[in-house]
Amino acid sequence: MNTSLESKPVRSLSALQEVELSAPYRALYERVASAAAGPEPWRRRKLGAAHEFLASAQVSGRIMVQYLDLSAAFRSVFLLRVPVPCRRGGVGPLVIEPVAQLGFTYRPEAMTTAQPGYSFFEVLSPREVHHPNIAPSNVPPGAQVLCLGPSLPAGTKVVDLVLMAYAAISLQSVQFSLTDPAGLLNPSAAIFLQTSNTPIPLTREPFVLLKEATP
């Protein structure tokens, strides 16, 4: 289900529901929309979120959607162009990977009930991510779950979560405090980033790629 990024960029994330999807995104939307199941409010929410999510991919030029499924939960695998801090075995030199492959799940209960910050994203690749808010891959259970905070309010929008993930992974918004464990899943990464001379954040680029956003 690969979708190319060749689409005409629109400049704003503020009115994604009004963005007209380009042909590949529209085809993907139509394919998954026909299989969207669930009670009416949930189905409507999934369809709206899918449109906004694909529109954000089109507008930002930062996302490549690899998989999208609306049949039960809202599930997607996508590549996010974001610098990802990695260390082999948690001890080697810091390596910055340019792209993260994220698995994203938005369950129906997220629409009506506050959710823990770790319930949405898992970094599928690269492995050995060394980040305070991402569970380490070399410690069981090994899933690189991304935590966005102690609790996220009910009904947080899908696109807002994607923006939060971008900001968190690039260390633009990050929880370093060892005494406040909210959101801190890898304390050794927090210590490392506090003591090393790694430039933080890893990028100051906004989510919408500026080059493509220039008229």
């Binding site: 669930g38 049949s71 039960a72 009506t112 823990p116 009910a154 464990p181």
Partner: protein, 416 residues
């Protein structure tokens, strides 16, 4: 939420055999306007109480005195010393789980009543455990519980009574929800912005949670119940009486109404309850069907066939096996994602061992499904639930694009 707890039946204690000599028929009055047989209606009544505290325990004990047919109690809490102030207990019960302790008292009062207790949260019970319930009384201390109970009752068409008190104004409240159709009001229809804000605050999470998914909080009380014992008892008895009126069809209909009485003035109000079209809850009714045989012995294909609605004629899009989650892939010490494709209880943090490194395989969150898209299990449609890991299954929710079917085990007699 995936189910992980169940009911336990309470057996009668020999010391209380004398109670079996009490006969309800000796005391039931000739009720005005009664159309049917009151004793039979109470014998057939299956009542469930969610939240067995100051209000709910009073209702439960009243049902025991009424010798109803079956009583199911749910509460995840234990009695504390402060419980003595508002709850109908003795000091001997302090420290004991509420549901089981009150269930034992009920069984002592009425040995002929089938009494079941669940010392876990309602959200962790299978939907199939709510089947056959005629009336459900919710008397919990948080909005999340009220919303979730209402959602389940609406889906299954169970009449629900919400009993509550407001200590400061000496007011007892009783809301009766008919759940007659999917368009009937549910508790969340009455929530405003303040209630939604409070629901967000009621949930707390630990960073350890993603390693043990069943430890998710289900909602907590933001403050202790501040009230007086007589008011709590009053609220509980109003709920019990309302349930009797429903069961025996006495007086004018009370469904979808809010009854309120203030002990300062003894004035009361009856207000109709209406559905909020913007209610975020799923206003849908599940179709209840029996599986052709025990669910664990059914193949996925048989379940699909059983859940195929004649009106729609199409197969479901997803299946949810209550009490289990489908694990598509997992991670081990090999650090490589491996296919697992099996049903695993949410309390199990591992799903077998890796054939290469011999280390435990941990379910990968992204590849763990509560509701399983049919596309994920297409290859396994000829396998039984038992062979896929669900050795004890109580319900399967099959979802079509707009409808849902709850498949339950056949009755015990049919199984034999």
């Amino acid at each position: 939420m995936i189910s992980s707890v169940s009911f336990t039946e309470v057996s009668s204690r020999s010391a209380c055999r004398v109670a079996s000599r009490a006969r309800r028929a000796d005391r039931v009055p000739a009720l005005l306007g009664l159309k049917g047989d009151a004793n039979k209606a109470l014998d057939d009544l299956v009542a469930m109480i969610v939240g067995v505290g100051a209000v709910g325990a009073t209702t439960a004990l009243s049902f025991a005195h009424l010798q109803v047919g079956e009583l199911r109690l749910v509460d995840r809490g234990c009695f504390k010393p402060a419980s003595l102030i508002t709850q109908p207990i003795t000091p001997a019960l302090i420290g004991q789980p509420k549901a089981t302790a009150i269930a034992r008292l009920c069984k002592d009062i009425s040995p002929r009543t089938r009494v079941l207790a669940c010392d876990g949260p309602l959200q962790a019970l299978a939907l199939a455990d709510l089947a056959r319930v005629n009336v459900l009384i919710v008397a919990g201390d948080n909005l999340t519980l009220l919303r979730d109970t209402g959602q389940r009752c609406l889906n299954l068409g169970i009449r629900m009574i919400h009993a509550a008190v407001h200590g400061e104004s000496l007011t007892a409240q009783c809301r009766t929800f008919s759940h007659a159709t999917a368009d009937s009001p549910c508790p969340a229809c009455l929530f405003g912005a303040e209630e939604h804000r409070m629901m967000n605050e009621e949930r707390v999470f630990s960073c350890e949670g993603f390693r043990h998914r069943d430890t998710h909080a289900n909602g907590r009380s933001l403050q202790s119940t501040m009230s007086l014992r007589p008011l709590c008892a009053f609220g509980g008895e109003i709920a019990a009486l309302q349930a009797v009126k429903l069961a025996l069809e006495l007086g004018p209909p009370v469904q979808d109404t809010l009854f309120e009485i203030c002990a300062y003035t003894w004035r009361n109000l009856i207000t109709p309850i209406r559905r909020d079209p913007g209610c975020p809850c799923a206003h849908e009714r599940y179709t209840m069907l029996r599986a052709p045989r025990l669910l664990r012995d059914c193949t996925l294909e048989e379940l699909n066939r059983a859940a195929r609605l004649s009106q729609i004629g199409v197969e479901p899009i997803s299946l949810m096996v209550e009490g289990f989650r489908w694990i598509e892939r997992g991670l081990c010490a090999c650090a490589k994602s491996r296919p697992l494709n099996r049903l695993v209880r949410p309390s199990e943090s591992t799903a077998g061992r890796c054939v290469h490194c011999r280390k435990p395989v941990h379910p990968q969150p992204f590849y763990s499904h509560d509701a399983i898209p049919l596309s994920c299990i297409e290859r396994f449609k000829h396998r039984t639930l038992r062979s896929l890991g669900a050795k004890d299954c109580r319900g399967v929710l099959a979802r079509h694009s707009e409808r849902a079917v709850l498949l339950t085990n056949p009755p015990q007699k049919a199984r034999a």
